[in-house]
């Protein structure tokens, strides 16, 4: 069982924004879904086999890319050719 308090904490971690009415609904739905997920408790083992895969690497060299104008085009707030973000501090 997850509690409303836990769901509120998760919403906080995910920066999702949640109001009190939603909190009740989400908690109720989460419990139904997590109950269903409990079937995974019956899965044996905790490690997956290593797959036959290899990493794909390339040299770290500059390649043609988008221009600054193209990149800035979709940013709602900008200043002097930079993207403007909310305060971090």
């Amino acid at each position: 069982m997850v509690t409303e308090k836990e769901v509120e904490h998760i919403a906080e971690l995910a920066d999702i924004g949640i109001n009190t009415v939603e909190l009740g609904t989400f908690t109720h739905q989460f419990n139904a879904i997590l109950d269903y997920f409990d079937v995974l408790d019956q899965v044996k083992g905790d490690t997956t086999v290593t797959r036959d895969l290899t990493n794909i690497m390339r040299e770290d060299v500059v390649e043609p890319s988008l221009t600054r104008d193209e990149v800035l085009k979709n940013a709602a707030a900008q200043e002097d050719g930079f993207i403007k973000a909310p305060r971090v501090m």
């Binding site: 769901v7 920066d15 739905q29 988008l66």
Partner: protein, 433 residues
């Protein structure tokens, strides 16, 4: 190169399109002047791409997805962007911020999802072919519900570059069309290695469909005809499989014991991947403006609460929860073990059979608003998610009707045997046409 222009002014009574390009440019090529619709989570340079979400309203990609670039090079006219469940999260196309798409076969019913707009555009005869994406059945489900053909290619066969990510380890871009030939033609264009997607393989598709299943062994998993599958749907699919036998295939019953865990493994995996992927939507680089006077978390929260729909927020939170300290081992780790078990089951079965067949969906298309409870909607994906977990090719081809609505026959194959899957679907299609 000389450029031409296609005029495209469809009567979009099903709300299949989010954006319509009335004047669609094209060049000479294999698909010269053929109208192709593209799902709205696939980037199209200069054409708004929203993933059917308010959080991307107004976003115009500065580049084409690799698959779109290949379509343009082949001469296709990109005539519009199709409706979908927001970010691909849904099985009905009702989770769109811009209203649901209706099923052209019965407008009181959903077209399936999440590529419901692409399916309705094809089934409603607005375009001959379309691109969709399939994370847990999002091409095959709407293809089955709308009575068209849809293929989820082998994972790695088609580049995901420019596909706005939801669950990277599961999703593939794939073709949707009226006929199996159309699917094959689109695969010839979009499949192959792309240096911008390191999960692609150098396995181009150069095949032309051959209507032949003689001597093929087809596995029929008992789980695909078990609890939860509507008897009328099962009967239609059994008749279709019998037809394949008449065409020279032999069938053998088989079992996928890991199916018991497949749906939970799928939903844990996709929500975990979504919680990470969708962190990028912060209203800073694209989307509605974040209030830069507020603090980061405050502004971020505000944008995401207003911009994401309920199902998207639900999945982000579920994924965040499943990955959180104390729960990771119980959910994510177990889901990955279950996923390996699904793969192993398929590998075992495919050492004895060439193909696996069963229904695409357990029921016919739902009525609008029928699936209001999230878990009951998730459960309807049970027959499509195994192919995504295993990365194998799977096609849905129309095989008749139940209660007046289309039913899809699903055919799955070994990894990189998309050709064989297409041939079997083609053999069936040609035999019943």
């Amino acid at each position: 190169m000389e450029s031409y222009e296609l005029t495209f002014e469809p009567d979009d009574r099903y709300n299949a399109f989010l954006t319509i390009c009335k004047k669609a440019p094209y060049r000479k090529g294999k698909l010269s002047g053929i109208a192709v619709a593209v799902k709205d989570n696939i980037s199209t340079k200069g054409i708004e791409t929203t993933c059917a979400s308010k959080i991307l309203k107004g976003y115009v990609p500065p580049y084409d997805a690799h698959a779109v670039e290949l379509l343009r090079q082949a001469g296709a006219a990109i005539v519009g962007k199709t409706n979908m469940d927001e970010f691909g999260m849904g099985t009905t196309t009702e989770n769109s911020a811009f209203g649901p798409t209706l099923n052209p076969c019965d407008t009181d019913r959903v077209p399936g999802g999440s590529s419901g707009g692409s399916a309705a555009a094809v089934a409603g005869n607005m375009v001959r072919m379309a691109l969709g994406t399939d994370t847990g059945g999002s091409i095959r489900c709407p293809a089955a519900f709308c009575g068209i053909v849809g293929l989820k290619p082998t994972y790695g066969r088609v580049s995901r570059f420019g596909l706005i990510a939801y669950a990277n380890s599961l999703e593939q871009i794939g073709p949707m069309g009226l006929t199996v030939s159309d699917i094959s033609t689109l695969m010839q264009v979009i499949a192959g290695k792309d240096r911008h997607d390191s999960t692609t393989y150098d396995r181009p598709y150069t095949h032309t469909p051959v209507a032949d299943v003689k001597g093929l062994k087809i596995g029929i998993p008992e789980e695909y005809f078990g609890e939860g599958v509507a008897p009328k749907v099962a009967d239609v699919v059994k008749t279709a499989i019998h037809r394949l036998e008449e065409l020279g295939a032999t069938t053998v019953s088989c079992s996928i014991p890991s199916m018991k865990f497949a749906l939970a493994a799928y939903y844990v995996t996709c929500t975990c991947e979504a919680s990470s992927n969708l962190a990028r939507f912060d209203g800073v680089r694209y989307g509605p403006a974040a209030d830069t006077k507020k603090s980061w978390h405050e502004a971020y929260k505000e944008v995401r609460k207003a911009g994401f729909g309920t199902e998207v927020r639900r999945r982000i939170m579920l994924g965040t929860f499943a990955l959180s300290s104390g729960y990771y081992g119980k959910y994510y780790t177990k889901a990955q073990v279950a996923r390996e078990n699904v793969k192993a089951d398929f590998a075992r079965i495919f050492s004895e059979v060439d193909l696996i067949a069963g229904p695409t969906m357990p029921t016919i298309a739902f009525r609008l608003k029928e699936k209001s409870d999230p878990l009951s909607m998730y459960l309807s994906d049970i027959l499509t998610v195994p192919a995504n977990l295993a990365g194998i090719p799977a096609i849905s081809v129309p095989c008749g009707k139940a209660d007046g609505m289309p039913v899809g026959l699903q055919i799955m194959g070994r990894p990189f045997e998309d050709e064989r899957v297409i041939d079997a679907a083609y053999a069936y299609e040609q035999a019943v046409k």
